[in-house]
Symmetry: C2
Subunit: 372 residues, 2 copies
DNA sequence: GACCGATGTGTAACTGGTTACGGATGCTAG
DNA sequence: CTAGCATCCGTAACCAGTTACACATCGGTC
């Protein structure tokens, strides 16, 4: 109703037409139209410039004027148009997040941390799910660029094509943070965990329990570090190194199940299995459960990630924990720092440590009563 | 390097200056500058209008011209500026998603489905996490509006304040879909599951096994339907109705643990517990585990949601499954339909059915050998 | 009383697209 | 030969803000 009255006279008695010029009157009358800064200005009896200065707290605005503007904003339910704003400011307050699979608790936690930190800084996170698909990852990066994101956070997979897309975004001046990726010459900052160290700790633990034949289940393209750590640890710890003990499928429960089946069907099956992630480890659980193999007395299992699920599995899963939340927060921090100073050129590489969480899925191999 | 050559002459031998006017030459020389449609136009020897028409496939563009534009876009690595575009088109291709907690596998699955469907339609999802906080939910809706989202999807919690924010968004012409919320007079479309039916099925199952004292663990503000269904089912099935059997904490594992502790500490503890969600049910598991109460022989547990975790718990959790993925897809569908026809006024209410998934966490109460 | 800096506000150019409009061209039909 | 239509493309206004600049006012100082 107050909005209606402004159609005649504003606070200073000037008619709408006089100040705003005619021609816009029609659109101004439209229903369901969201208010613009011009309308707020009219309503408060000032000019757009002043409204803008008030909103951005730069330049001078008299206290009395500010009050009138505040009231006008309130009354009209004015929300600044982000598109128009970002056109001149070159900032959208949007952070792009290219993520493989949100259903994976690891990435979900990551996304949550990133989003929380972004929100605190007044930004929002734009998602693009790739399902681990190369083509979709590339498309996602392009799509996000079209939305003028201020920064980009990318999770695996990686490939030459994806590298190119990432580099191209970085070249266009978009700060990029890669999470857990192993690009040789990174196009942006990087946050990762020392999976090599983490996986090494897992293998040491198993070796310490007396295991000699330790299997590995992982994926072809991903988790390279974990696999390398597995192989290196085998030789370092003097364990059996048998190519058949390393089965690569995909990073899903099903993948873990199939891989475990393959391992347990070997004439000389491993007494312990190290999985490249917890989800696969649970697939190993399922394979063991199906064939009546008891964990940990007949088979030890170690996972990677320490997802929420791990502690609730039966038995609770011994696993290598990554500081998921911290990774997300650090990724946003790196982004923020670059946004505040666009002249930084040195790519940073933040490597966080993993921690082995001992639960109940590991024990000495069958037939040994030994150590620990 | 080709970009450099255009500074002198374009394909038609006209100099850059002549066509584009002077004054812009300097900015054109800037490093790290992303190309604009004007630059593409220059490069291809056409005008901006033509470039725009080419991009949007409306109006006429000769095949030869299109080819030149395509080449120019390719060479300059041009990506249209979404902000500028949306300024006139009133569309951003962004869908706002206000979500309580991404770490909850239920909402994660929801988010994933929404995001996938949105991507297919060429949109992206903008996240805002609220952690179940009222204030943050309101702030999130406002923040997303500032980003000119085309549509808004909201998950609980709900409150009068949140209602107002949602209604205000809807009044501003933003299509809204509520997921799993129970607003009396909805401001937008709604997708929900018949939790009443689902919870009823769970209670029937427990009653069928012979349970008479069945506890409920839930949260104060949320999952009203489940609680009401619990209470109604008690009377309908002629079970013990005792206010002490209904404990309300929060929808987390910890909440479930505390609530279960309270129930099991009763002088006359329940023989079965129905949890408002699976995460709480796992808290119940933990409470039982800590005091050595065996599930299901000494205590039956039924959850709600059928998160991934449920089937992997020890023992696998009997739970009420919601069609999570379908809910997300339907939500996006409703949004899309409204976006294609903004004149629809009737709010729609999609109610999907729940399904009771029988696993191994339920059994007849101790001391009974009876039914089924 | 003239000068000065601090404070407050309006004007208009600018951001990077879209699109209505109109002019130019080419082809066909009368 | 020309009217008429389809095709093609450039011009300029417009979207909703931001911001440099100019101008106005005011209190205080010499």
């Amino acid at each position: 109703m107050l909005a209606g009255s402004t159609l005649d006279k504003d606070l200073f008695g000037r008619s709408t037409e006089q100040k705003y010029g005619s021609g816009n009157t029609l659109t101004y009358l439209e229903v369901l139209r969201v208010a613009t800064a011009y309308e707020v200005a009219q309503h408060a009896g000032v000019s757009v410039g002043t409204v803008s200065r008030y909103l951005n707290q730069n330049g001078y605005v008299a206290a009395k004027t500010a009050g009138r503007i505040r009231a006008a904003i309130e009354e009209l339910g004015y929300v600044p148009n982000g598109a128009a704003r970002s056109l001149t400011t070159k900032r959208t307050g949007l952070i792009g997040f290219v993520v493989s699979d949100l259903r994976n608790p690891f990435t979900a936690e990551l996304a949550d941390a990133i989003q929380e930190r972004a929100n605190e800084g007044g930004s929002c996170v734009v998602l693009y799910g790739t399902n681990g698909d190369e083509e979709r990852t590339v498309r996602g990066i392009a799509a996000l660029r079209g939305h003028n994101i201020d920064g980009l956070i990318v999770t695996p997979p990686e490939s030459p094509k994806i590298n190119r897309a990432v580099t191209s975004a970085a070249d266009a001046g978009i700060p990029v943070v890669l999470i857990g990726m192993t690009l040789d010459r990174p196009a942006g900052d990087r946050v990762s965990t020392d999976t090599y160290q983490g996986a090494g700790a897992a293998l040491e633990h198993l070796a310490g329990l007396g295991h000699r034949r330790i299997g590995f289940v992982g994926a072809r393209d991903q988790a390279q570090g974990r696999r390398r750590a597995y192989e290196d640890s085998l030789t370092r710890l003097g364990l059996v190194s048998d190519p058949r003990l390393c089965v690569l499928t995909e990073l899903t429960r099903k993948g873990g199940l199939q891989a475990a089946d393959a391992l347990l069907d070997l004439p000389d099956p491993p007494t312990a299995i190290f999985a490249a992630n917890d989800v696969m480890a649970l697939g190993v659980y399922e394979a063991a459960y199906r064939r009546g193999t008891h964990i940990p007395s007949q088979l030890s299992v170690v996972g990677f990630d320490d997802i929420d699920l791990a502690s609730h599995a039966a038995p609770p899963l011994t696993t290598v924990a990554q500081p998921k939340r911290q990774m997300g927060i650090e990724a946003m921090r790196l982004l923020e720092s670059r946004l505040n100073d666009l002249t930084q050129f040195d790519p940073r590489d933040l490597r966080l440590n993993c921690r082995l969480v001992l639960r109940e899925s590991t024990a000495p191999p069958p037939g040994e009563e030994s150590q620990r």
